[in-house]
Amino acid sequence: MTEWQFLSTSLSAAAPTATSDVVTETSWDLFVSSFWPLLSGAITGTIPLALISFAIGLVLALFVAIMRLSRSRIVSSIARIYISIIRGTPLLVQLFVIFYGLPSIGLTIDPWPSAIIAFSLNVGGYAAEVIRAAILSVHQGQWEAAYTIGMSRSRALRRVILPQAARVSVPPLSNTFISLVKDTSLASLILVTELFRQAQKIAAFTSEFMLLYLEAALIYWLICLVLSSGQGLLEKRLDRYVAH
């Protein structure tokens, strides 16, 4: 389906003939009729993009954090350089390098995988520092107690340290996730059909830029409200073993 056909179908209720009628309809009608196309952009684009990238990014971040804490200077340097590059360059530039840059060295990646790779790498860099700080915040005595009951370093990390670090890292990681949800709008610039790209298309078609972009903003905000309340619930659950 081409973009043009897509727009005609999604706006068929408001603009059956897809011509000058759209300009004459009321703003409210346009708001209502474009709500579903925007929401479906969020459901099929923004949300899965954010969820998948965050999941991959977190796993990556955990490895990078552990590498960063390694006693081997080489290993920790690799992690340090990775974090420095990710945090020191704009996400938009990272996206463009992967999608528009790599083809010139013979590596062409589709929009969706390009976006997933860029966002995962980005989360990996930011969340690694969060996780590292959270691991360091767990008292040294916890490592020692784990060692004296016979645990290896990796088992101590898994059973004793990370569960405690998780509690500390929920608020900052929630921030990372909420930023990511909003940052996925950048994927519109590498042709991924998500919430913001839908808004752009309809806006271009109807010339109602203010209305469509505010409507997109509203949907982003609603998603983030849901996420914030989820964060609250998670924090409450993880706080059950802490004195209040």
Binding site: H139, G141, Q142, E144, A145, A146, Y147, T148, I149, G150, M151, S152, R155, R159, V160, P163, Q164, R167, R240, Y241, V242, A243
Partner: protein, 264 residues
Amino acid sequence: MSLTNPTPGSGEKLLDVSGLRKAFGSHEVLRGIDLSIERGRVLVLIGPSGSGKTTVLRSINGLEIPEAGVVTAAGGIRVDYAAKPAKKDILALRDRTAMVFQHYNLFPHMTVIENIIEGPTQVQGVKKAQAIAEAEALLERVGLAEKRDVYPFQLSGGQAQRVGIVRALALKPDLLLFDEPTSALDPELVGDVLAVMKELADEGWTMLVVTHELAFARQVADEVLFMDGGVIVERGAPRDIFTAPREERTQQFLHRILHPLDDD
């Protein structure tokens, strides 16, 4: 069920430490420590803060890696710190010992019972049902059966330390290491913990205890070691050390502790 250790007082040498040396930067904390423990005996290390007592204890299970010294333990375990010790030898030492910490170091994200069964089930491969049954019996013995499912933050210091002791016992170690187990407790809670430790000693557990509780050392120890400045200054039966110390440094230390308000 008792807290009983299998073979009390057999005279078998359980652990031998020789030539421990450790420096933090230019500060020498251990300057050649030798000691050995027979099965079923209680050794108490006393001495002023900074004398190196805790470092000795932590060198026995590899929490501290000294520059030199050899630790040998029953079962053919030998760790030579001067040669870089193999990980598996350190793990073998930790397998034979268990430690009770000054600040308990219970796992805050686990309930009391989960804390106790963590080592047996996760490391030693004991079946969960069996580990729970044993843990419950131990909790019963230290009077904390009803605390089974609470989190550590809901315990008083004295209760937390008794759970710390049970967590160590659940591993069925050859040797129990106590690192100032009552130093962080309110004075009125010290008695409960010392009572449990005395009971363990009476039942034949082999114990190495670093403490400031001289009354406990006097009553429970088979041998008392007085450390100062990174060396063992004097060692002997508690009656000899406390009533007739030979070394001047021991006399001064005991005087300071027993008569803190006297002028020198």
